[in-house]
C-alpha cells in the first residue's frame, strides 16, 4: 500500500476531489465571471465610442483605435482574481472538519495545502481563458500578434496565483471562510486604484500616486503593451516582475500560515 502513497498521487486525488466540489457548485463560478465580462462589455459600450476608433488623431487615442484591446486586460485581471477561491476552498475544509480528518491520516500536509491552490490555478486559467475568448470574438487583436494572448494569459495566471496565496494566508490566519472571503475585498483597490479606464498619464493627484504603488498597474500596463502598442520589453518586464514578486510574497505567506495550521496545538 505504501507505494501508492506518494506525494503526487495524494495531490492528484485531493485535487480531483476538490475539482468535483467546484464542478458541483457551478453557480459559485458565476459572480466573478459576470463582473469580468461586465467590465468588457459595459466599458466598451460606455467608453469605446469615445476612446475607440473615433478618438483617432486626437490626444485621447491611447487605445489606438481598438478600445477592446485597451479594456480587455482589466477584464482579464478581474477574472484572474478568481484564484482567491483557493483560500475559501481550504477554509471550507477547515471549518467543516474535513481538514482534520485528513490530518488524522498519513497524508502529506503539503498535498492538503496544494490541492486547493491547484484548483485555484485551474479556475484562474478557466475564467481568464473564457474572458479572453469573449474578447477575441468581439474583436481583440494584439499588436504583437496572437502570441499576445499567451502573454496576457500567463500574466493573468501569475497574478491569480498571487491572489490564491493571499487568500490562503488570510483564510488560514482568520480561520474562517469569511476571512478568506474578505480577502476578495482587495479586489476593489486592486482594480480601481489603477489605470483602469485611461492610461496612467491621464490619472491625477493621489490616484496617480496610488496607482504607482499598486502592482496591478504594472500587470495591466504589460498586458496593454502587447495588446495595444507592441513589444515594449521594459513594460513587459515590470509586469512580470510585479506579478512574480506579489505571487512569491503571498505564496510564502500561505506556506508559513499553512504550516502553522497543520501544527499540533
Amino acid at each position: 500500500m505504501e507505494s501508492n502513497r506518494s506525494f503526487l498521487i495524494q495531490l492528484q486525488i485531493l485535487t480531483k476531489r476538490m475539482v468535483l466540489r467546484v464542478v458541483r457548485r457551478p453557480l459559485a463560478e458565476l459572480p466573478n465571471l459576470i463582473i469580468s465580462a461586465f467590465f468588457l462589455f459595459v466599458y466598451d459600450g460606455a467608453l469605446g465610442g469615445v476612446f475607440g476608433g473615433s478618438a483617432s488623431g486626437t490626444p485621447f487615442d491611447f487605445a489606438k483605435g481598438n478600445f477592446i484591446n485597451f479594456i480587455l486586460p482589466v477584464s482579464i485581471v478581474s477574472a484572474s482574481l478568481s484564484g482567491a477561491a483557493s483560500g475559501i476552498y481550504l477554509v471550507e475544509d477547515i471549518e467543516s472538519g474535513v481538514f482534520k480528518r485528513y490530518q488524522s491520516m498519513p497524508i502529506s500536509r503539503w498535498a492538503i495545502i496544494l490541492a486547493p491552490m491547484n484548483v485555484g490555478a485551474f479556475r484562474v486559467l478557466l475564467q481568464s481563458g473564457l474572458i479572453l475568448f469573449i474578447g477575441i470574438i468581439i474583436g481583440a487583436d494584439p499588436a504583437v500578434g496572437n502570441i499576445g494572448f499567451l502573454i496576457v494569459l500567463s500574466l493573468a495566471f501569475l497574478w491569480g496565483m498571487g491572489f490564491a496565496g493571499y487568500s490562503v494566508a488570510a483564510g488560514v490566519k482568520s480561520g474562517s471562510s469569511q476571512g478568506a472571503q474578505a480577502a476578495t475585498f482587495l479586489f476593489f483597490p486592486a482594480i480601481f486604484l489603477a489605470p483602469t479606464f485611461v492610461p496612467r498619464e491621464a490619472l491625477k493627484g493621489w490616484l496617480e500616486t496610488a496607482a504607482a504603488y499598486n502592482p496591478t498597474t504594472y500587470v495591466i500596463e504589460a498586458m496593454r503593451a502587447v495588446m495595444v502598442d507592441g513589444w515594449e520589453l521594459d513594460v513587459l518586464f515590470r509586469g512580470y516582475l510585479s506579478a512574480g514578486l506579489f505571487a512569491a510574497l503571498t505564496l510564502t505567506l500561505a506556506v508559513l500560515s499553512a504550516r502553522k495550521a497543520t501544527e499540533k496545538a
Partner: protein, 323 residues
C-alpha cells in the same frame, strides 16, 4: 500487549485570554478486543483526550501508547494502526458516499482496483449500499454517522476511536450503530468510545471510565462500578421541599436529586420500615419510597455529586418513538 495505555495525561490550552486545563489527569488501560467507554458530561475532556490519543493534539504532560507505540514521538506509526471518527469531523457533503470511500481508500494507498473492491465491502459493512451514489448532503443523521464509521474503517485498523458516535441520533439509529460497533469488537477490533449517555456505556462498553472535569473519577466494568456503591439504593420522594429538607436532617448520608433523596445501604428493603418510622414520627410525609439495585446513574451521582443530564433523554426519546 495493551491496546491503549494512558498514564497521567494532561492537556492545558493556553491562549491570550486564559488558560484552560481541559484534561487534568487521565489514566486508563484498554485491553485488546474490548470496548472501552469514556463516560462524561459535556466539557469533561473526552474529545480532548481522544484528540491526544489519536495524535491530533500534543500531550502537555504524561505518556500514552497505542499497541506499545508512543503517541507523542511516533505519531505516524500510530496513525497507521488506528481508525478515528471524531465528534465534529466534516464529511464532504457534495460528494457521494461511494466517492468518499473511494477517495479515502486511495489516500490510504489502495490501488484503484483495490479501492473499488474495498469501497464495496465497506458500503455493505455499514449498510449504505443503496445510498452509495447519492450525495452525502441527502443522508440522514444516522447514515452520516455510519458513513463516518465506515471511513474510519477503510484501512482495517486494529484500534478504533469513536468520539460520541451516537450523540443526537434517534433511538433506532442508535441501536443500529451499537450493533455495528459490537460486531466490530466481535471481529477483534478494539474500540475506545466516548459518550454522554449512561445507557450507551452500560450497553456497549466492556469497561467504563467516568470522566468529570478532566479527571477520571471511577473505572471498571459496569457491574464493578455498581457493586462499588455497595448494597441497595433507597429513593424517597416528598410532597414538598420542607419535608425534603427535614428528611435530609433526619436521615443523614443522603444524596439529593431534584425532589428525591437517595441513601445507599446494605439490604435496603429490610431497612425501609425503620426509615419511614423515623420520618413520620417527625412529621415528614413521604409520598413514595422504593429500594433498588444501584444503576450506573447512581454510580455517576455518587462519584460526581450530580446526575448526568441527557441520560433521561434517551428514555424519553425511546418512549416517544414507541408511541
Amino acid at each position: 500487549m495493551l491496546a491503549v495505555d494512558v498514564k497521567n495525561i494532561k492537556k492545558t490550552f493556553i491562549s491570550k485570554q486564559d488558560t484552560v486545563e481541559a484534561v487534568k489527569d487521565v489514566s486508563f488501560q484498554v485491553k485488546q478486543g474490548e470496548i472501552f467507554g469514556l463516560l462524561g458530561p459535556n466539557g469533561a475532556g473526552k474529545s480532548t483526550t481522544i484528540l491526544m490519543l489519536t495524535t491530533l493534539l500534543s500531550i502537555t504532560d504524561g505518556r500514552a501508547s497505542v499497541l506499545g507505540i508512543d503517541v507523542a514521538t511516533k505519531d505516524k506509526e500510530v496513525r497507521e494502526k488506528i481508525g478515528v471518527a471524531l465528534q465534529d469531523t466534516g464529511i464532504d457533503n457534495l460528494l457521494t458516499g461511494r466517492e468518499l470511500f473511494f477517495t479515502t481508500c486511495r489516500l490510504w494507498g489502495y490501488s484503484k482496483k483495490d479501492s473499488e473492491k474495498r469501497t464495496t465491502e465497506i458500503l455493505e459493512l455499514v449498510g449504505l449500499v443503496e445510498a452509495a451514489d447519492r450525495r452525502v448532503k441527502t443522508y440522514s443523521g444516522g447514515m452520516k454517522r455510519r458513513l463516518d464509521l465506515g471511513l474510519s474503517l477503510v484501512h482495517s485498523p486494529e484500534i478504533l476511536f469513536l468520539d460520541e458516535p451516537t450523540t443526537g441520533l434517534d433511538p433506532g439509529s442508535r441501536r443500529v450503530l451499537w450493533d455495528e460497533i459490537k460486531r466490530l469488537r466481535d471481529n477483534g477490533v478494539t474500540i475506545i468510545l466516548t459518550t454522554q449517555y449512561l445507557e450507551e456505556a452500560d450497553e456497549l462498553a466492556d469497561r467504563i471510565a467516568i470522566i468529570d472535569e478532566g479527571l477520571v473519577v471511577a473505572e471498571g466494568t459496569s457491574d464493578e462500578l455498581k457493586a462499588g456503591i455497595g448494597g441497595d439504593v433507597i429513593t424517597f420522594a416528598f410532597e414538598n421541599n420542607d419535608f425534603l429538607e427535614d428528611a435530609k436532617n433526619i436521615l443523614k448520608n443522603t444524596v439529593q436529586d431534584k425532589n428525591e433523596l437517595r441513601i445507599t445501604v446494605e439490604d435496603g428493603a429490610s431497612k425501609i420500615p425503620g426509615y419511614l418510622k423515623d420520618l413520620t414520627s417527625n412529621g415528614v410525609e413521604v409520598s413514595s419510597v422504593s429500594a433498588s439495585k444501584p444503576t450506573l446513574d447512581d454510580v455517576f451521582l455518587e462519584v460526581t455529586g450530580y446526575r448526568l443530564e441527557g441520560s433521561e433523554d434517551i428514555k424519553n426519546e425511546e418512549e416517544k418513538s414507541k408511541r
